[in-house]
């Protein structure tokens, strides 16, 4: 599995294609360096380098890329890779060679004490923005290379993003940093679909002129999956009181006011299924239906994501209000 990370690694920061790397799990400082790597097996990673990484994506026979940004308190082996692998398995089951899942790993940790851990991770999420803005520059170069070098064909694979929980904060801050430092205050349309699942950001974030507006500018469609009984987001709301922020989370309510967000934003209410798929927290509901069947069935959120990836359009019950209820 290919992956990108700004987690601290043991060893030097200079690029060495093929070198074995390991994460420095005691260090959760967000690195300014990003590493383009391959996971060969459990705790077995090798640096690939961005040029080889992009060349491999271009050469692969998959039609589309899905960048997966994980949530807080997630570690690579126990949490992030299994979830990325489950996503990959479900896509492969539905249509071989449609999607390649690429996890983007940022340096959160799993310290004891959920509130302290939450705050540490929120800082790591924000501090990861500069490193990941460089990743987006590389994807832009990959996409537009033919404009500067007509010997090489451009890569036409579509890029989608799935941000889960605090990964939404990583995405929002990354796009803001990218716009501010590299793109003259704007962002290009780089993604086909952006899926914001159980988003741990303020529910007004996507409104025009707010920081999350860049998410809408960078993507053809933005689908917001939310559930009012998501217990993990309740903890987040309590944690944020420390900073005197009592605002509602996007993953709880969807956009506060659909009239204030751009027209490419869709709100998908997952209240009827989130706790059935992920009991009791109702937070990680984008994979399969976990209601005890031996064979894991794809869940409705996954099916909705898949349909958007295939068609490039977001199907909703109410196209005027851009709202959909999954049940």
């Amino acid at each position: 599995m290919l992956f990108i990370t700004n987690r601290a690694i043991n060893g030097g920061i200079g690029l060495e294609v093929g070198r074995k790397i390991s994460f420095d799990m005691s260090n959760n400082l967000s690195s300014q360096s990003v590493y383009f790597c391959r996971r060969n097996g459990k705790d077995d990673y090798a640096e690939v380098g961005s040029l080889n990484f992009m060349a491999e994506l271009k050469k692969s026979n998959v039609e589309q890329i899905l960048i997966y940004i994980h949530g807080f308190s997630n570690l690579p082996e126990p949490d992030i890779f299994p979830r990325a692998a489950a996503l990959q398995g479900l896509f492969d089951k539905k249509q071989a060679n449609l999607v390649l899942v690429v996890p983007l790993i940022w340096p959160c940790d799993d310290d004891p004490g959920i509130i302290k851990d939450y705050w540490d991770d929120q800082k790591s999420a924000d501090a990861s923005a500069f490193a990941f803005a460089r990743v987006l520059e590389k994807f832009m170069a990959w996409r537009t290379k033919a404009e500067v070098d007509d010997k090489e064909a451009p890569c036409l694979k579509r890029i989608n993003i799935l941000a889960h929980s605090m990964g939404n904060r990583v995405l929002r801050q990354t796009l803001e940093a990218w716009a501010s430092y590299d793109r003259g205050g704007e962002v290009p349309l780089l993604f086909r679909n952006t899926f914001l699942v159980a988003a741990d950001i303020v529910n007004e974030s996507l409104e025009r002129g707010k920081t999350g507006d860049y998410i809408c500018q960078s993507s053809r469609n933005v689908s917001v999956y939310f559930a009012s009984d998501d217990l993990a987001l309740r903890s987040s709301k309590v944690s944020n009181l420390k900073n005197k922020v009592a605002s509602r989370r996007l993953g709880h309510t969807g956009p506060e006011n659909m009239e204030l967000v751009p027209n490419n934003v869709y709100a998908v209410d997952c209240d009827d299924i989130n706790t059935k798929y992920d009991y009791p927290k109702g937070h990680s509901y984008f994979l399969y239906d976990e209601r005890g069947e031996k064979k894991k069935k794809t869940g409705l959120v996954f099916e909705h994501i898949l349909d958007s990836i295939k068609s490039g359009r977001v199907s909703v019950d109410d196209p005027l209000r851009r709202v959909h209820v999954l049940k």
Partner: protein, 122 residues
């Protein structure tokens, strides 16, 4: 018609997760994380399996597993799917009569097609 049974032997839970999800519409999938347990399952189950086997595993390696199975005159079809190949292992697997040898990076379509071919030959 019943789906053919496949036993996937790999010590990497991440690989087992993705591959079992991807295959379970086509095959009756059973997974196991080490070769010793796989051997017990093969000897106790009524079903005959197609084996998908990793080579580098702690404890009994994939090559040792094949040697043991073949010593027992069990000609079960084995498809080696490995992330780390080398010529020595590939040669040894061929000598032991392994029916297929693939890289883990192979696409799912190609893997399923190879598995189906092996099942037809059986």
């Amino acid at each position: 018609m019943d789906k053919p049974a496949v036993l996937i032997i790999d010590d990497d839970p991440v690989y087992l997760e993705s591959i079992s999800l991807a295959l379970d519409d086509h095959f009756l999938v059973r997974t196991v994380s080490n070769a010793l347990d796989a051997h017990k399952i093969m000897n106790s189950a009524d079903t005959s399996f197609l084996i998908l086997l990793d080579l580098q595993m702690p404890g009994m390696t994939g090559v040792e597993f094949i040697e043991r199975v073949r010593r027992e005159n069990n000609n079960v079809p084995i498809l080696v799917v490995t992330g780390k190949s080398n010529q020595g292992w590939a040669r040894r697997c061929a000598e032991l009569g392994v029916q297929g040898y693939m890289d883990k990076l192979v696409g799912i379509e190609e893997l399923i097609s190879e598995m189906k071919k092996l099942l037809i030959r059986r």
